[in-house]
């Protein structure tokens, strides 16, 4: 993902590269620009890697006549993270350990503590709400965690987007997902009839409570992840191992 081409340190120029043209304008210093172009063309095939919708980040650290050039497939986050190779929330958790502890404890309690809802069901709620919030990282990673719990294929991640067209889910979970979707829009959207629907499928008060809180919590997590502009790998496969770790080692695993 990130490749160090030539190492040296000190002052930094950061540029978000959207196309080859931008790269030429990185620095007005012509000789520097040519140098940069040669270095980058050695490692980047622009036609391949910079497609229309894909942003590239090239970071150039320079001092005197040497350079450290780092390019990454993903745009930089809105803030300078300590480790820019960590995707989604993981880079943020690493950046601010003081808040990470509570955030991870909350995820652990909501998704993995003892409950009459299985962890698989709770991860589905988390992934579904994240999908509705358009948060690719959370949707895919929690979808992968659900798949790990439920021992099913990663295609589950795509089926969540189709409102569980092919995955067999219980009428109770469907009623709870309906409540979660209302919470995602705004708390006031949850109507007494939504609650009645869930109760008719034998959802308990605690299950309704937990559903609302999981949905609300992911309205926080999703905003945290996207609001700071973190990057997210695209393919489902990139989340397989992460999902297994989330499911089986949990959120408070050593990092």
């Amino acid at each position: 993902m990130i490749r160090i081409i030539h190492r040296i340190s000190i002052s930094q120029t950061s540029v978000l590269v959207k196309n080859q043209q931008d790269l030429f304008q990185i620095n007005r210093n012509k000789s520097f620009c040519i140098f940069l172009r040669i270095l980058c063309s050695q490692f980047l095939t622009f036609q391949d890697k910079i497609s229309e919708n894909q942003n590239f980040t090239v970071r150039v650290f320079r001092a005197n006549d040497s350079f450290l050039i780092i390019y990454s497939k993903y745009p930089m986050a809105h803030i300078k993270l300590l480790n820019e190779e960590l995707p989604g929330i993981t880079g943020l958790l690493n950046y601010r350990p003081e808040t990470a502890k509570s955030l991870l404890n909350l995820a652990e309690t909501l998704l993995r503590s003892e409950s009459t809802l299985t962890s698989g069901e709770r991860e589905l709620i988390a992934s579904y709400v994240s999908h509705l919030n358009g948060c690719h990282f959370c949707h895919t990673s929690h979808g992968a965690a659900a798949a790990a719990h439920l021992q099913c294929d990663l295609d589950l991640i795509d089926d969540i987007k189709q409102n569980f067209a092919t995955t067999g889910i219980s009428p109770k979970l469907r009623a709870l997902l309906n409540i979660a979707a209302k919470v995602q829009k705004g708390g006031k959207n949850v109507l007494p009839e939504d609650i009645t629907l869930a109760r008719n499928e034998e959802a308990t008060d605690k299950e309704i409570h937990d559903t609302v809180l999981i949905a609300a919590a992911f309205c926080m997590f999703n905003r945290y992840v996207d609001g700071l502009g973190t990057f997210a790998p695209k393919e489902n496969e990139a989340y397989r191992q992460m999902g297994e770790m989330m499911a089986f080692a949990g959120y408070n695993r050593p990092r």
């Binding site: 809105h78 803030i79 300078k80 943020l92 950046y95 601010r96 003081e98 808040t99 502890k101 509570s102 955030l103 404890n105 909350l106 309690t109 909501l110 503590s113 919030n133 358009g134 948060c135 409540i179 209302k182 919470v183 705004g186 708390g187 006031k188 949850v190 007494p192 609650i195 008060d205 605690k206 309704i208 409570h209 937990d210 609302v212 809180l213 949905a215 609300a216 919590a217 309205c219 926080m220 997590f221 999703n222 905003r223 945290y224 992840v225 996207d226 609001g227 700071l228 502009g229």
Partner: protein, 187 residues
């Protein structure tokens, strides 16, 4: 009436946090750290973030409670009133205006935060950590607002209730009261 049975003497968020204490613990800790922990943003400034997000989520309970807390911490009630209408008209720093604008974007969705809004905050002296905390506080209140309204917890109509709650938040912070909340039963 709340969607699930909650302790009647504890309206709003408190009843929910008492109903589910194991989930309340990390939420309380996070809030205490973000709103009261050591920070280059003052506690009053951070309460403004909580207020504007709750206001835009139309959560009456949270808006009233955090407005009361912010008013106490700032020693005036003008700022809260104005930022709900027009951030630029408030007598606060340019940095704070930019951070409140970011918070308003986060309220809509994470993706609606623009590079320009981040640049504006940075150009007015906001640090990365301040931007981080602003986004996370705004996210946290999207949780609270949905939690409170999604379960239809009680929103008291009496303004006196929020004055009391504002004082409690300012004096005791966000941790659970050591003695619990039974003393409020006959109030």
């Amino acid at each position: 009436m709340p969607h699930i049975p909650l302790p009647e003497h504890l309206p709003g968020i408190t009843g929910l946090l008492e109903y589910s204490q194991d989930t309340a613990q990390p939420i309380r800790e996070l809030t205490q750290f973000l709103l009261r922990g050591e920070n280059t943003l003052s506690a009053g400034e951070r309460e403004l973030i909580a207020t504007i997000v709750s206001h835009n989520n139309e959560c009456k309970f949270c808006t009233s409670a955090h407005t009361a807390a912010a008013d106490l911490l700032l020693g005036e009630s003008k700022t809260c009133k104005i930022i709900k209408q027009d951030i630029d008209k408030a007598e606060i720093s340019e940095k704070m205006k930019a951070l409140l604008k970011i918070a308003k974007m986060v309220q809509k969705s994470g993706k609606s935060v623009t590079k320009e809004a981040i640049e504006l905050a940075k150009n007015n002296g906001a640090t990365d950590l301040e931007i981080h905390d602003t986004v996370l506080i705004a996210g946290l209140f999207c949780l609270y607002n949905r939690y409170v309204d999604g379960l239809a917890s009680v929103t008291p109509a009496d303004p006196g209730f929020y004055e009391y709650l504002g004082e409690r938040i300012v004096n005791h912070g966000y941790n659970r009261l050591p003695q619990g909340y039974d003393h409020l039963k006959n109030k």
